[in-house]
Symmetry: C2
Subunit: 470 residues, 2 copies
């Protein structure tokens, strides 16, 4: 049984999650939290008090005729209160415990302007008040799941001896030549110092042009080639002006990297990791998942349970193309060897062809980044994407090119000057080794686990074109 002593820095004031889990009443307790609803009964008021420790609120009964009842006119939805009283078995069917208020302190009242009234608000409206939406049942649940899964990520890797690396946020590299980068600068924005008709970047803070990282992978590789198994978990950025429900300018990525690992080992780690996170959600966030099941995504829990049990299929890109071509299905984007798999293809493969999670491997080299290892066929690379039903790609990874000459050739073919990444090439020059890794976008995963359909609703304060508020 959890103690009601509470943490010693908040003496005698347990969390509501602890109270609701009690087997026996400790007698008198004090709780503090925010009033979600006030309901009038016969001579009493019922307050639902929530402190964010769990979805459920504690029912507090205030006798309107008793001295404590004098406080009632000052209490409404959103008030912040501390209540002392006796914890008793509730006669109501909806909850086991209720608190009979003996003393109520109102820390923070509310007025009529409080935007969160007792009704369901639209997600779009709630995004406008991202500073208050954590006080709703829905966003309370989303952000508790986010916190627990973030910890589960660390636990998974630390238990397996992976070293956490804080790769840099500000960087002078453009990792993949891919994503558009934000510039980071302290130069005079209106009259920047000039040199030969260009901005004189050497006068900027870092002495060269710098931006926000799009991936910690390259630096992660450096560490894998010293610590064998490493992972990163940090913010990454894309300056793409795309206003979709799946893109944000700032999001968190998890990127493990393993020395002495090939593509098969990479897939095995991705499978074990993905499964472990789903298990964590099912076991440690069951209250929240039941809420999402009811109000957000019917069928969610069964779907997650099924993925956690499923065997993960494997298929090369070549096989995938053949299966898609042979399916008789008319796709919006036609299918041929060499084409990038679109979301419709990915979903068809995982939903219709294998009906479960699927690794597609060995993509054409031209479709993938320069650092992926060239296969012996000379035209595909040791890449993998994990596809899941309803979403498509959720993890992308590869074995890395560890052969210096092959890597330099690939860089030139991709239009990347090897000189600019001399430090990266150094690891292939000295003590190189086979290695592999992958990336999981944390918000994409949270959308998958919660059923939320907009990335703006799984990150506390989303950054998108036109929006850096709060």
């Amino acid at each position: 049984m959890m103690t009601l002593a509470g943490n010693k820095w908040r003496q005698g004031c347990p969390r509501i999650r602890e109270i609701l889990a009690l087997e026996a009443s400790p007698g008198s307790v004090t709780v503090a939290g925010w009033v979600r609803t006030v309901r009038q009964g016969k001579g009493v008021a019922f307050l639902a008090v929530n402190d964010g420790s769990c979805l459920a609120s504690l029912q507090v009964v205030v006798d309107a005729a008793a001295p404590v009842g004098a406080v009632l006119p000052r209490i409404g939805t959103g008030s912040c209160v501390a209540i002392s009283g006796c914890l008793v078995v509730s006669p109501g069917a909806e909850q086991r415990w209720e608190l009979q208020a003996a003393k109520v302190v109102v820390f923070g009242p509310v007025d009529e302007g409080y935007p969160l009234q007792k009704k369901r608000h639209g997600l779009e409206f709630l995004r406008e008040i991202a500073h208050l939406r954590p006080r709703t049942n829905l966003f309370g649940a989303v952000f508790r799941v986010r916190s627990r899964l973030a910890f589960a990520v660390h636990r998974f890797f630390q238990e397996r001896g992976f070293l956490l690396v804080h790769t840099p946020i500000i960087t002078a590299n453009d990792c993949e030549g891919a994503g558009e980068m934000f510039r980071v600068t302290t130069l005079d924005p209106f009259h920047p110092p000039a040199e030969n008709g260009q901005v004189a970047w050497r006068e900027d803070f870092f002495g060269e042009k710098a931006g926000l990282t799009v991936s910690g992978q390259l630096e992660g590789e450096l560490f894998a080639m010293a610590f064998t198994d490493i992972y990163t978990f940090g913010p990454t950025f894309r300056a793409e002006n795309s206003n979709t429900s799946r893109h944000a300018a700032e999001f968190w990525m998890i990127e493990p990297e393993m020395a002495f690992a090939d593509l098969a080992a990479d897939c095995a780690l991705a499978e074990e990791f993905f499964r472990a996170l789903i298990h964590c959600a099912l076991e440690e966030c069951s209250e929240e998942l039941a809420f999402f099941e009811q109000f957000v995504a019917p069928g969610l829990v069964a779907r997650l349970a099924s993925v956690a049990q499923a065997s993960f299929a494997h298929m090369t890109y070549g096989e995938a193309i053949e299966r898609l071509q042979g399916s008789g299905r008319a796709f919006t984007f036609p299918v041929a060897w060499g084409c990038d798999l679109q979301s419709e293809h990915e979903r068809f493969l995982s939903e219709q062809i294998v009906n479960g999670p699927l690794f597609v491997t060995d993509y054409p080299a031209e479709l993938k980044a320069f650092y992926m290892r060239l296969n012996d066929d000379g035209r595909t690379v040791a890449a993998m994407d994990l596809l899941v039903p309803r979403v498509g790609e959720i993890i992308g990874g590869s074995q890395r090119e560890e052969r210096l000459e092959v890597l330099e050739r690939r860089m030139r073919a991709c239009g990347i000057a090897p000189e600019g990444l001399a430090w990266y090439l150094d690891t292939r020059r000295w003590g190189s080794c086979p290695h592999a890794g992958f990336g999981l976008g944390f918000e994409r995963f949270l959308m998958y686990v919660t059923g939320m359909e907009n990335i703006r609703d799984v990150i506390p304060f989303p950054r998108t074109p036109g929006n850096a508020r709060f």
Copy 2:
């Protein structure tokens, strides 16, 4: 006993840390790692092989006359190898186990250009090769401690029911009006769009002027007022052109925030947290601390053990000023009520006056940020700094001003327009509550625990004026 089965995605290949901890030989094993040194014996070569899982290397014995010996000319300091053979009790006094090589695979050779030769390199030189320095004993130890303590931070808060919040990195706020901010932009750097003789920020990516966060506190407060106990652990930034050993442009901060907590509760949490991290270092990083003790900071372990046992003293700022004035000590910066405590004062207080960790509380309002709670005396605020010997301030925190009118008045007095932080004030308008929190700079703490004296040496790829390499 740990199994030698290894993780299933790297079959049969355990980490060296596991091997060195074995009680009995499993017979044949395979290990992979990097050769730290090669030493010639009579008819044999001794390789010290390290895989980053621990400080110690595994001694590998290669019989020069046996077929396996043919590989020796291709092996030098820095080579990446995999070795299979029999694990036997070492006749040498320096190690318990040694591996008798039966088969050696050289994944990655080295040439004479490899910068890390078998000698002690200067820290300044190693900073220039930050991509290779993780392969040294010293930086291997530093980054293992960093990873374990980062996990200990999460464990500490998660075990106590604190919710992790990923506060935004890109922001349109300037949290405290304090630190200089980096600008984040996608505008044409040379010919930015203009409007009334200024940059037209509304045409920038976020529709307004944006920068990199200097603190997650304000957003953390929003979440504390929904979840009660929260913490952040993320990168923060200062665009200050200061080239000191204690400042970096990018560093990681830990910022817990608790609702229903006063300054005393805040100090209690800070003490428990600080102590827990020191305990973690002493217990989980003992091999690394012993190394730092020997090569970096003699006396380190005893100092940490003593702090972990110490009772933490408390003193108001007013008392501290009196004690400093009465000390008879001639300080470089004279002491008077209202002056900011300098490092010399902080160290004198903790080293000479209390000889241990010390909370100094209740600073003059003018010295502190607008959000700190005004005391009843009307001239001090409920702030606290934790001072420790040899370092001075290591944690800074406060109870926050929860009274709307007082907060607005303080903002105006600090030259901050309340309208710009309307969302922050909303939490005081609706359901406000007493709350408190603090911040710990993760790198400052790592310097304290490792004895390393330059912040550039406890962060993987430091960002400082003129340096955003790697």
